[in-house]
Subunit: 368 residues, 2 copies
């Protein structure tokens, strides 16, 4: 990799590592006989989407209709909008469902009633189940509401019940791999109770399961029919700390120019701030951590044994805390590597990648 | 304002309020006889930049060379890059300084030596002084380093010393208006000691002062020559909490569709997440606060006396905590208004504004 031409904060992508992450998850899905429907909100990139095609991926998830449009342009034709349907977007939804196999997610009867009256073309719909994350979804024992929705839709020609979908995002707060396994197991249990109850009426219904920590750590997907991990394509420092991946499975790294060095405070200032990384952080005993510092080399980057972290961000500035020994190796004008805490948000801000093979690749530019 | 056509998260801009904010700051600068060099990193918008022209503004500050380019296209010709110079961008810097009056900011001698050898056209340079924020800049009593830089540049035809510049960002951590005034006064004191020392050699040197809290709250700019506030153009919830502005001076508000309501948890879920707001927050005794909830109306928005806040964000979802009484007034598919905590970051993510006069206006799309 020729980093000498990099002049501004740049998101580096290790293509080999990324393709390996895709391959591993695709193979795991195959062995477990589940549908692999990756969530493309992490990379939001047509070239990266193509890498998935090589592993037979045809079904994807996205988090907005605008993001769906972007992938439809490159002939992705089976898309689940894994976000509670926004009924204000009915016209856009009708345009898209005329063109492709669109699946939507519902979690209340108000939306369902609206859709029943306003849909023009068939859509599949998943009922979102809240298995404990408590963000969106119907609590799994709220059978009344589930029955209401299924009664509302049972004679609809346009609203086709596809199954139950969950995103067990509480794995992100788990303290151990054991706890992630436990969340997975209890979530699957809840979904399977529902499947048992409704499978006679809906023999085709599937159980769709999200979240990278579970999909990365659980070996056996028995009891589910579809997985929708997203972040695994890149992973990041947060996933590494959760134990979802090894450090060398992380496929993205920011390259940031050093603009100031303050040895007296053990600090290096980079061009790389909240408009590049986002302000997601995790905390250790001493600091907020917005990223782990690594050393860039001709093949990409390698872990620096230096206890150096990105610990503060303002709009354009990033502050790195590091040891004097590490700081002594850095000069004004150097490039420093930073593994982002949350790769989805960093990629969304950077809007493009430089691969370690020196190729620029696109990211969806946004809806406006 | 016709909000009925809004279908996705949208950044609303109250043009009257915004122009009023500009007018007030421009008049304050005029009364105080200081140069008004607004920082355009907050709005990053050519149409909004035009509103400044009406108040005689010709000099601006930006935080990257890419942002400078964007404004140069609309004939802004006197720009200070208020960020420590990034020597990797020397070619870009030379292109820009051929075309316009470019001022840069330096805070170490390594950059200055590099510039001395590699600049092709004249630039003005400010020495960044750290008056207590401890992010970048030279501590004001480090006269050795200041002397080194001025010695290095004294015979340079291309590096023209413009003066001392500070950004007293520690006002953002102040607990009271009194404390903000104190920070302002001690910063000005430090800068004036330097001015006294160097004014015989550099009779034209100016003192340039940043930060919206100081510029909003301090009445008398005696002792400085230039102000560079940025955020004041919109203000936001953080500035309101700091006391820099009244609530009705806030000129931007997100309009977000309601996609789920969970009364049992006192929660409303909107489409509006980290990719719209950024993850900047402030904390009250109970919650993280990513925004204050307001009610949208035909003229814009008004404060809802409801103790309702945006308290959680994931990539696309926002969670609002509110009272049952408030939640009872909200339906699936409604639009809810959210005053962002940090308008600069929200505007940077949204990349465009819908004015309360129903006009779409642009935001710089980014450098890639």
């Amino acid at each position: 990799m020729d980093i000498s031409k990099i002049t501004t904060p740049t998101l580096l992508l290790d293509k080999t590592t990324c393709i390996n992450n895709i391959k591993q998850m695709a193979e795991k899905a195959k062995i477990n006989n589940v549908i692999f429907r990756p969530h493309f909100k992490t990379h939001q990139s047509l070239p990266i989407a193509k890498w998935f095609k090589k592993f037979g991926v045809k079904k994807i998830a996205v988090s907005s209709l605008q993001m769906a449009d972007y992938f439809v342009h490159d002939n992705w034709k089976d898309i689940t909008l894994a976000f509670p349907v926004n009924i204000r977007e009915i016209d856009h939804l009708n345009e898209l469902s005329e063109e492709i196999q669109l699946n939507i997610t519902v979690e209340n009867n108000e939306s369902v009633k609206f859709l029943k009256e306003n849909l023009k073309y068939p859509v599949g719909f998943f009922i979102k189940i809240d298995t404990g994350y408590n963000r969106t979804g119907i609590i799994s024992d709220n059978l009344d509401l589930i029955d209401q929705i299924l009664n509302e839709t049972k004679n609809s020609e346009l609203l086709n019940f596809a199954g139950f979908l969950t995103h067990a995002g509480h794995t992100y707060h788990a303290k151990s791999k054991k706890e992630i396994n436990h969340i997975f197991n209890t979530s699957i249990e809840q979904l399977n109770v529902l499947k048992q109850r409704y499978k006679n009426t809906y023999p085709e219904l599937i159980l769709s399961y999200g979240d990278t920590p579970s999909c990365s750590l659980v070996g056996d997907f028995m009891g589910i029919n579809e997985i929708r991990p997203g972040n695994f394509v890149f992973y990041d420092y947060m996933q590494f700390k959760l134990g979802s991946c090894d450090f060398d499975q992380i496929a993205v790294c920011m390259a940031c120019p050093v603009v100031a060095i303050h040895k007296e405070r053990n600090e290096i200032i980079i061009h790389g701030g909240a408009v590049h990384f986002s302000k997601e952080f995790i905390e250790n005993s001493e600091n907020k951590i917005f990223g782990q510092i690594v050393l860039l080399d001709k093949n990409g980057w390698h872990k620096a044994d230096n206890n150096a972290y990105l610990t503060k961000l303002s709009q354009e500035h990033g502050t790195i805390k590091a040891t004097q020994d590490f700081i002594n190796t850095i000069k004004i004008g150097d490039l420093i590597g930073v593994i982002p805490v949350h790769s989805c948000l960093t990629a969304n801000l950077m809007k493009g990648y430089l691969t370690t093979d020196n190729e620029w690749i696109d990211h969806f530019s946004g809806s406006k």
